[in-house]
């Protein structure tokens, strides 16, 4: 474990943990910052002030109660489907790579890619919104033509760590992949 500070592409602090289970198996976990109370307050206030403005002109109390329900449901959906708490990458030499992301509500989404399908892991550059960023991705082998790449699986899509963090993960992954 090292003490280097990592941030995501917007400058927010993130944490990178990695566990070496053996020389062939390493698990990386990137944890994003928790939902900030300020952000929740701003979102809630925004909806409620808007609802109150509508109520002021319509005098219909249903508007206010629906605003409360909308914020509650919205928050539930957000932590269940949008907000990802941490993403992990489990690399097992000769077997494959497991990607899992766990949502703030506790829901987990896991997928596994066999080593035979993986061509390589690389760091690539892409234009994302109004920025140009580096990202780590897995290149999948084309079953028809082994030298071609059929598709690309981007990693750490939600936390979007910066280059120094990606390089660290990349080097360890390459170490494991090159051994098998």
């Amino acid at each position: 474990m090292d003490n280097e500070k990592y941030t995501d592409i917007n400058g927010k602090a993130i944490a990178l943990n990695y566990q070496r289970h053996s020389s062939f198996c390493t698990e990386f976990t990137v944890s994003s910052p928790k939902v900030s109370i300020g952000k929740v307050m701003v979102a809630t206030c925004f909806v409620w002030i808007f609802a109150y403005a509508v109520f002021f002109f319509t005098d219909n109390t249903a508007v206010l109660s629906s605003a409360i329900i909308i914020t509650l449901i919205g928050m539930m959906l957000y932590i269940h489907f949008v907000k990802i708490d941490h993403e992990s990458l489990l690399v097992i030499g000769s077997l494959g790579i497991q990607l899992s992301s766990s949502y703030a509500s506790g829901r987990e989404h896991t997928s596994f890619i066999e080593m035979s399908k993986i061509k390589d892991i690389v760091i690539n550059e892409a234009i994302y919104m109004h920025q140009i960023i580096y990202y780590l991705c897995i290149l999948l082998r084309d079953p028809a033509d082994t030298s071609a790449v059929s598709s690309v699986v981007p990693l750490f899509q939600s936390s979007k760590p910066r280059l120094n963090c990606l390089v660290k993960v990349y080097k360890s992954c390459q170490e494991i992949i090159s051994k098998c």
């Binding site: 941030t7 592409i9 920025q131 140009i132």
Partner: protein
């Protein structure tokens, strides 16, 4: 001729350096410790709407110039807009990095300009590549003008290369020239491709001629070598390679073909290129039954051009306006006799004995062509190999890159005006109405930049891994002289 111009350019730039030293002495804030170092390596960002896969003179100019600058140890990246599915970041030969930014294309492959929307992405490119000089190309490119504007807002030095000539009389020219005045008012240095083009640009943009240099285009002489065995015996072939548009004088060509074909039964025309004026040539061919003697080849790939050129004896150029005609140099390099109109920068391009210049009329061009045909028949023309040997040393990309490097050295030492003085200059230089409007736009742009810097601070952006330049991780220059590169890399370190 090229030599003479080079000397003039060098002496002019040395004069400028002396005057620059004076201003630096009188103004202590302008002095920059690294400016005096001639071996300084720059980090250059070429910006233009026009780049490969689009084909044309500007595109190949940017590519060849970048390659030669990389060879000299500079770091070069190119920013252009996305072409169809080609978006994102690509690498070309020798680690030349190209950013295809997703900006909306409006007209003729030129992006829309709002002065603002391209700032976030261009800022990202400039910051992450640690760009020191922004070099914009072509006055038709809105993205180039945007980049000049944003670079000044961000405090970077700028160079602009103009590749075309404009008129002064009609409404659209008046408007374009006003925009050019505003855009170039802040630019540190302007490069034109010929003296005619320099005169035109200085007048259009009301510039100080001191900051305008002339650096001609070049051709790759190894690509264009003569091969007389490809010529068909018993006939004289005239080659025309240009886009078939009004500007290239295709209507003149339509007048020349029947007249000369009637007089000389062994004369053949080989025409390469595509465009709206193709119909004119097809009509002529139809009307005078010249299907066997006038061949229209349609659009040509750049690599096929040489194969067409070497089949001919005479290269004909009928352009009505031209800043610097690359085609006639390519033709001469392949050993052809060149006949051209005397317009724009063409008379400067080739030595007088390699080219026959005519007025842009059918009669004059016919007379010029006939004179050359008579010479060819009597064998009083130099051999293709002789012509090639003379032309190959006239225009080389290494020479162009060396001269452009001098411009960068000069520009890198210049002070970038702070916002208040920039606004003052805009209003003084561009008139009170346009100047005030653009001063307002410049302020808005500055505020937008502050907003972006607050949203995503510069230090949060990752510095890109260099693919070319002193700290390149790949590319031949690194492997050839590692010690020299390491020494030269020190002054550019932040």
């Amino acid at each position: 001729m090229g030599q003479r111009r080079k000397k003039a350019d060098v002496s002019a730039s040395s004069e400028k350096r002396a005057s620059e030293a004076d201003t630096a002495a009188s103004n202590p804030t302008a002095s920059n410790p690294t400016a005096s170092n001639p071996n300084r390596k720059h980090s250059i960002c070429m910006v233009s709407d026009f780049f490969y896969p689009n084909m044309g003179g500007v595109e190949s100019h940017i590519y060849q110039l970048s390659q030669c600058l990389i060879e000299k140890g500079h770091k070069v990246v190119i920013a252009t807009h996305a072409y169809g599915r080609r978006k994102g970041v690509r690498y070309l030969t020798n680690g030349l990095k190209v950013y295809y930014l997703p900006l909306q294309v409006m007209y003729n492959q030129s992006t829309a300009t709002t002065c603002f929307h391209s700032l976030p992405l261009l800022r990202c490119v400039f910051v992450r590549e640690a760009v020191t000089v922004v070099h914009a190309h072509s006055s038709f490119s809105a993205m180039a003008h945007d980049a000049l504007f944003h670079a000044k807002t961000m405090g970077l030095n700028t160079v602009f290369t103009d590749h075309s000539l404009f008129g002064f009389a009609d409404m659209s020219s008046v408007l374009t020239n006003k925009l050019l005045t505003v855009s170039l008012c802040d630019t540190d240095h302007i490069v034109c491709v010929s003296y005619t083009s320099k005169e035109n640009t200085v007048l259009r943009a009301t510039l100080d001629p001191q900051i305008v240099s002339v650096i001609p285009n070049a051709v790759d002489p190894t690509d264009f070598t003569p091969d007389p065995s490809q010529r068909r015996g018993g006939r004289i072939t005239v080659v025309v390679i240009s886009r078939l548009v009004y500007r290239k004088g295709i209507d003149l060509l339509g007048g020349i073909i029947p007249e000369l074909c009637l007089k000389h039964p062994d004369l053949h025309f080989l025409i390469g290129g595509e465009g709206p004026k193709r119909i004119v040539l097809e009509e002529v061919r139809e009307k005078y039954q010249l299907h066997d003697r006038v061949r229209l080849l349609g659009a040509l790939e750049h690599r096929d051009v040489r194969g067409v050129l070497v089949q001919g004896h005479i290269f004909l150029n009928t352009s009505l306006t031209e800043a610097f005609c690359m085609a006639i140099v390519e033709g001469a390099s392949c050993g052809l006799q060149v006949v051209s109109t005397r317009v724009g920068g063409i008379p400067e391009v080739l030595p007088e004995d390699l080219i026959s210049l005519c007025d842009p009329t059918v009669r004059s061009l016919c007379a010029g062509l006939e004179a050359v045909i008579t010479q060819l028949r009597s064998g009083a023309v130099p051999s293709p190999a002789d012509i090639h040997a003379r032309v190959r040393s006239l225009y080389t990309w290494r020479n162009v890159a060396g001269r452009t490097e001098k411009v960068y050295d000069r520009v890198a030492g210049e002070e970038v005006l702070p916002l208040d003085r920039r606004l003052l200059r805009l209003r003084q230089h561009c008139g009170s109405v346009a100047g005030s409007i653009f001063a307002f736009v410049a302020v808005l742009n500055f505020l937008f930049l502050l907003l972006l810097q607050w949203l995503v601070p510069d230090q949060v952006m990752d510095r890109a891994v260099d693919a070319s330049g002193p700290r390149a991780l790949w590319g031949p220059s690194q492997r050839d002289h590692p010690a020299e590169e390491a020494g030269a890399g020190a002054p550019t370190a932040e």
